[in-house]
């Protein structure tokens, strides 16, 4: 009979040996070399109902657990779309799109096949103003979805809506959910998803730590390259980069300021991606403010800011200056700004002409390091033009309240606000926020142009690309001429990933892990 005698010393020896062996064993956890893909996102999920989600990690998860009629290609390739959950998508006429779902799409939890009725339910639910979905704008032009049979349906639009393929169908409100399951769940849900149908199953969620997706054996479409996806929640870019270097992830966004160092000395087996994101940044100059009602004062601000200093100081010259909010590199973007900026004499002359002396303006900014750095560069720049700027840093919750008309008349009293929004592929997605009905919502410049509104209505229905380009450029010119905007840039997207695979990044800057491809 073997007698197990142990004491504290023996136990410590054994534990030490085990620990050393574990530490020396390379790749103790499964990594991208195996069948698990580990990606990092900044925040945790709150809602997995496409109509009411907030975005970011939630949509990344939904790209795996739900199906959409089409999908997008990589941001760096212009995000071209192709069919995904539909084997056929056909534009019958400018207001009619027919689709046929692929065979074999099946809901989990016994809710049967994915049908055209589910597509109708999903889209009309987002579009219904009574539901107040934040993604309703995606289906603003949807009239209704006609169900032809189980797999066939027709999307009927109120007006021709050219951007529907890249704005509405592939993501966010475009994810298809089960009508029967949702109704059984009470018509709405948050994190208890009643049924899914996608390449992955939602396997587990450790709050504020990790979400695990595993391959769905019933998925009839192309199998994803990775059988398991682990999405880690790490808010801070610096911490995430350290964790990546310690082999905790295979894919993470990094701070823009770290790109140069990573490029010079990359971690082993790592590729650095530097791309221009769709996130556009600009300065709102509020023409409703009593201090900025004279267009010459607003123009003085436009002339008084040297944007090149911002691009160098905040973005290491990784991206050029933008000429508007529309994605650069597309034909919709203007060739140049009307006012190049950094002309302090011109700014001072405009102030003198307007009879404005001792101009003091408040610049509201979200209180993170990058944005406050930009605000300080603007402050120094405007000081040279004779304009005193007081920076008002606010935390995120307070920041989003300053231009919100539901919180009183304060939105008429803000002066300058540094803003940035996630954009899209189609120009209309980025131009929508500056319509007159957005004043006191997201249009914090008080920009109120009937011509702009008319052009917007035209650009979303126009099918002639040349005319759309002309409209897009005219709309941005109207914005700049109003004195209400200084366009800064489309922010750089900097991320690192293992060499063993090629990621696919959607235009919102977030990955679609379903389409990550292992390298041979």
């Amino acid at each position: 009979m073997i007698r197990w005698n142990t004491d504290r010393r023996k136990f410590l020896k054994a534990a030490g040996a085990f620990g050393a062996a574990a530490a020396l064993k390379p790749g103790f956890a499964w990594s991208a070399d195996g069948d698990t893909l580990r990606i990092r996102m900044e925040g945790d999920l709150q809602v997995l109902d496409p109509a009411f989600m907030i975005g970011a990690i939630e949509d990344v998860i939904m790209r795996g657990i739900y199906v959409s009629l089409n999908r997008l290609g990589d941001l760096r390739e212009g995000s071209p779309w192709s069919p995904w959950g539909a084997e056929k998508i056909e534009q019958k006429d400018p207001k009619t799109i027919a689709f046929t779902l692929i065979e074999g799409l099946k809901w989990t939890n016994g809710f049967g096949a994915v049908t055209a009725e589910d597509v109708k339910f999903s889209y009309e639910r987002v579009a219904n103003p009574d539901n107040a979905s934040p993604w309703a704008y995606q289906f603003e032009q949807l009239d209704h979805v006609e169900v032809v049979d189980e797999r066939n349906g027709i999307i009927h639009l109120k007006n021709p809506y050219q951007p529907i393929y890249v704005v509405a169908l592939p993501y966010y409100g475009g994810h298809i959910i089960s009508k029967a399951a949702t109704e059984k769940a009470g018509g709405k849900y948050t994190t208890e998803v009643p049924a899914t149908c996608g390449p992955y199953l939602f396997t587990s969620w450790e709050q504020k730590q990790k979400v695990t997706l595993t391959a769905n054996p019933d998925w009839p479409g192309p199998k994803p390259d990775f059988a398991k996806v682990e999405i880690y929640v790490v808010a801070d870019d610096q911490a995430a980069q350290l964790a990546y270097e310690a082999d905790a992830f295979d894919y993470t966004k990094i701070a823009v300021g770290e790109a140069a160092a990573v490029k010079a000395s990359p971690p082993p087996d790592t590729t650095l991606v530097e791309a221009q994101s769709t996130r556009y940044q600009w300065l709102s100059i509020n023409m409703l403010s009593p201090r900025l009602q004279d267009v010459r004062v607003r123009q003085a601000v436009q002339h008084g800011i040297d944007v090149s200093q911002i691009l160098t100081g905040a973005y290491n010259d990784l991206v050029p200056r933008s000429t508007g909010v529309v994605q650069p590199g597309t034909p919709f973007a203007r060739p140049a700004n009307l006012i190049p900026g950094g002309d302090y004499e011109k700014a001072a002359a405009l102030l003198a002409e307007a009879g404005a002396s001792d101009v003091t303006l408040t610049l509201t900014v979200m209180n993170d390091s990058s944005r406050t750095a930009i605000a300080q560069i603007m402050q120094a720049s405007l000081e040279q033009a004779g304009i005193t700027v007081e920076i008002q840093p606010l935390d995120e919750a307070a920041y989003w309240g300053v231009g919100d008309k539901t919180q009183g008349d304060g939105y008429k009293n803000i002066d300058l606000v540094l803003m940035d929004f996630a954009g899209g592929v189609d120009p209309s997605e980025n131009l929508v926020w500056f319509r007159p009905d957005q004043i006191g919502v997201y249009n914090w410049s008080g920009f109120d142009s009937p011509e702009y509104e008319a052009s917007y209505q035209q650009i979303i229905t126009e099918t002639d690309e040349a005319k759309r380009v002309e409209l897009s450029r005219r709309m941005e010119t109207l914005m700049e001429e109003s004195g209400g905007f200084i366009f800064i840039c489309h922010q750089p997207l900097t991320l690192i990933h293992r060499n063993s695979f090629e990621p696919l990044i959607y235009p919102d800057g977030h990955p679609n892990p379903v389409l990550f491809k292992k390298k041979a």
Partner: protein, 295 residues
């Protein structure tokens, strides 16, 4: 008969200020005095000591490592870090001293009133002190700053509002202990007015412990200011602050770790200096402490 001056002159040097001498003979306290004095001198003479303007942006020379031109290097906007650290001392001390002084005055007045006044007033004031004391300082600060916006004024207000109840409590306790002393009763019999009793007779006897508490709270306030500035909720940019230097350094910690080191070092030294000095003062001023007592 010899004069007082002559008597003083006849006392050997080593017998003068015995507790002060004893305090300064402790090397830790001596270093603390030097540190605190150094910070005050730095803050007072910042415009003459700092080699550059702390707000002068030079983006082409950002994140430069320490060199002969920039001893501490430059920050993410190309500003001279040494100059920002020097001016940061001014910010830290100004906020700490002003807010602690305001809190001290409010606490002293309310504490005297609570301790000397009628019972019902004492009850109301104590309830107020305890209510304010029950608010966690950082959470209260975050709430106030969210409503009022960040800035030096808000910071001072928040610190003063959260600090004065403990000072008031201390003064109230001291006042309660002394209000029925013979000399106070005698004053009352002589028809002395309450302000005279409070400020001429009570105050000098209760203020000692308050001064010690105030001096020991200065490093706490410096840390609170730095913490809120680190969160982007302290002083407004471009005002230099050790907390904001730390935050800006943290965002570049991998490529420019010196920002965190040079931003954090004065914070550590100031905290240590003021803490040890406070303890030394306590030993010096508290008659119950044996250290330094003349034989």
């Amino acid at each position: 008969m010899s004069s007082v001056a002559e008597l003083g002159a006849s006392i050997p040097d080593r017998q003068r200020f015995p507790r002060l001498r004893a305090m300064m003979s402790d090397p830790v306290i001596a270093i603390a005095v030097l540190l605190v004095a150094g910070f005050f001198i730095t803050a007072a003479f910042a415009p003459w000591i700092a080699p550059y303007s702390p707000t002068k942006i030079d983006v082409l020379n950002k994140l430069q490592p320490p060199s002969a031109a920039h001893w501490f290097g430059t920050d993410h906007l190309g500003r001279d870090l040494l100059s920002r650290v020097i001016y940061g001392a001014r910010t830290a001390l100004m906020i700490a001293i002003v807010s602690v002084a305001i809190a001290g005055v409010i606490g002293m007045l309310l504490g005297l009133i609570a301790g000397y006044g009628p019972r019902w007033l004492d009850g109301i004031l104590v309830l107020t002190f305890d209510s304010l004391n029950s608010l966690p300082m950082i959470m209260f600060a975050l709430a106030i700053i969210t409503v009022m916006g960040a800035g030096t004024g808000t910071l001072i207000l928040v610190i003063a509002m959260t600090s004065f109840p403990s000072y008031a409590r201390l003064i109230r306790a001291q006042t309660l202990a002394l209000k029925n002393s013979d000399y106070i009763v005698a004053e009352r019999l002589l028809d002395a007015s309450p302000p005279r009793i409070l400020f001429v007779h009570l105050l000098p006897n209760v203020i000692g412990p308050l001064i010690i508490l105030l001096s020991m709270d200065i490093p706490v306030v410096i840390m609170v200011e730095a913490g809120l500035s680190f969160l982007g909720l302290g002083v407004r940019p471009p005002t230099p602050s050790w907390g904001s230097i730390l935050y800006d350094g943290y965002t570049s910690i991998r490529s420019a770790p010196y920002m965190v080191i040079f931003g954090g070092l004065p914070l550590v030294l100031a905290t240590l200096g003021f803490t040890f000095l406070g303890e030394g003062l306590r030993d010096y001023l508290d008659p119950r402490m044996k250290v330094g007592r003349p034989a």
